[in-house]
């Protein structure tokens, strides 16, 4: 009993504070979504009216789909790029250290700066345009900023998040002891069989973690969207911010917040299940 109190006291300023703060914020979001704390003062009581308002808006569903699309593409592409590199750099060789340091460099660049740098490079007057025009590939510069497919945003997310996926995956890949792979080879497993039956199942967790964290981060993106995204669409975060900021609709923003968290949750579950399925299927192949 005394011990429990001691643990409680130790946890209070750290975990305790975090949970109190995040709990209050989360409660506030959910409560406002259901009509409580209505600052406009029109009504103050439990109601589904704000859900009705938001969920019937076309702009909201555009934002929802858009964020889901950006987040899923970014997560999958970042992991798809990071995984083979992590495998390749499993065993150190000359130059591999410099290479992995450079791969991690984007971690040092804040998101807004990254967005600015990309806009600079792809802008009408940017390096890509000048280079391609100079090389004679294009007759004149083209407009690539704020493209309507969101390629710039996905590119930014991948640029920023790939190092993170690389860290997680290379940690998992390097944690596989050499003798385990040697044993598999010794028992007749070729390169591909070793990948499917040993490496893949032993790195599934890291891959799921990377996908989920990148998905959640990209789903909640605001700055890439507002700087490099197409002006005709919102992301969930930018829609939420515009409801709260320019329209003063806190309760509507709360509905978007809850939906964003739901998107994060279901996206996470979906990606985790997908990876599980792929690992299982590949493992079963003879």
């Amino acid at each position: 009993m005394r011990n429990a109190i001691r643990i409680g006291l130790l946890l209070a300023p750290g975990v305790g504070l975090v949970l109190a703060f995040m709990g209050a914020v989360l409660y506030r979001a959910v409560a406002q979504a259901f009509g409580l704390y209505d600052f406009s003062g029109t009504s103050d009581g439990l109601s589904l009216a704000h859900w009705q308002d938001v969920l019937t808006t076309k702009r909201f569903w555009r934002a929802f789909q858009w964020s889901a699309y950006i987040a899923a593409s970014s997560a999958v592409i970042a992991v798809a790029l990071a995984y083979p590199i992590a495998l390749w750099l499993r065993k150190p060789f000359r130059g591999s250290l410099i290479l992995s340091a450079m791969l991690k460099a984007p971690l040092l660049v804040p998101g807004l700066v990254a967005a600015f740098l990309l806009v600079n490079v792809i802008s009408y007057h940017g390096f890509v345009n000048e280079f391609l025009v100079w090389a004679g590939v294009w007759a004149e510069p083209r407009r690539m900023q704020n493209d309507s497919n969101g390629f710039a945003i996905i590119g930014l997310q991948v640029w920023k998040q790939m190092p993170f996926a690389f860290l997680l995956l290379s940690g998992a890949v390097q944690a596989i002891p050499d003798p385990v792979l040697n044993a598999a080879q010794d028992l007749g497993a070729g390169k591909f069989a070793r990948f499917r039956k040993i490496i893949l199942p032993l790195t599934t967790k890291a891959m799921q973690a990377a996908l989920v964290l990148i998905f959640i981060g990209a789903a909640g993106d605001f700055s890439f969207q507002t700087v490099a995204g197409p002006p005709s669409v919102n992301s969930m975060a930018s829609y939420m911010a515009s409801l709260q900021g320019s329209e003063g609709d806190w309760n509507g923003a709360a509905v978007v917040a809850v939906m964003l968290m739901a998107l994060s949750l279901f996206g996470a579950i979906g990606l985790t299940a997908l990876v599980q399925l792929i690992t299982r299927t590949l493992g079963r192949l003879a």
Binding site: G14, H125, G245, M261
Partner: protein, 274 residues
Amino acid sequence: MRKSPFNTILSGLLIAVMTVWLAVPFGMALLWSLVDPSQAWSYPDILPPKLSFERWSLMWDSTSLPIAMFNSYSLAPMAGVGAVLLAMPTAYAFGRLEFKGKAVWQTLVLVPLIMPGFVTAIFFASLLFSMGFFARYPAILVGHVVMLLPYAVRILSVSFSLVRQDVVNAARDLGASPISVFRVAYLPVLKPGIFAAFLIVFILSIEEFALAFVVGSPDFTTIPTILYSYLGYNFIRPNAAVVALILVVPNVILMLILERLLQSANPAGISGKG
């Protein structure tokens, strides 16, 4: 043993690509920040017609950049110290004690990392609004401390777990007071972890945008919010270039120091054995 030409070629190629990948964007930012205000850099000029530091001094004199820098660079160390102090007891419990539900608490402390930043920011602002709390500086400070606590807790937990019980026991066996035990057995091992935790919170606080933007709106500025203002509807590229460089360069240097510290925080470095 066997040298693979494939590896050499591919890694050489990738290093070249990565150099372009990093050097071109930063080179362009640097060029843009040096464009002289009197002569615009526009198509079809390949390079700016005139270079000067005019833009830098103009920004310093006529915008809120100095205030933003003061805000950012005073918030960050306070957030760092606050987060380290608050994280210590929890990190001690995570690193050195066994108790029921430890794994659950260790996961729960990470909640701020998976919560979308703008959700946290907006509904924290909503709470402040309800409470009638309008002092934005302390509000942002509290927000930064809490949002960045998970990093401090994680790093310090590892440090605490590296403290060797036999050294602690030896110190107590030789009659050391609790303070001496801490100085002799804990502090040397914790030191790199404390610095690392402080630095990471410092860096991330400087970079933090969502909370500073939402809670600080409309006129409380930090370096990221001022950068955002030059990137948004009021897009001024050379100004953005200046602020981007001010934001990124010190952080890169700090990150490199951090990397060093984290390396020296590993067990081999402390016990002197592999």
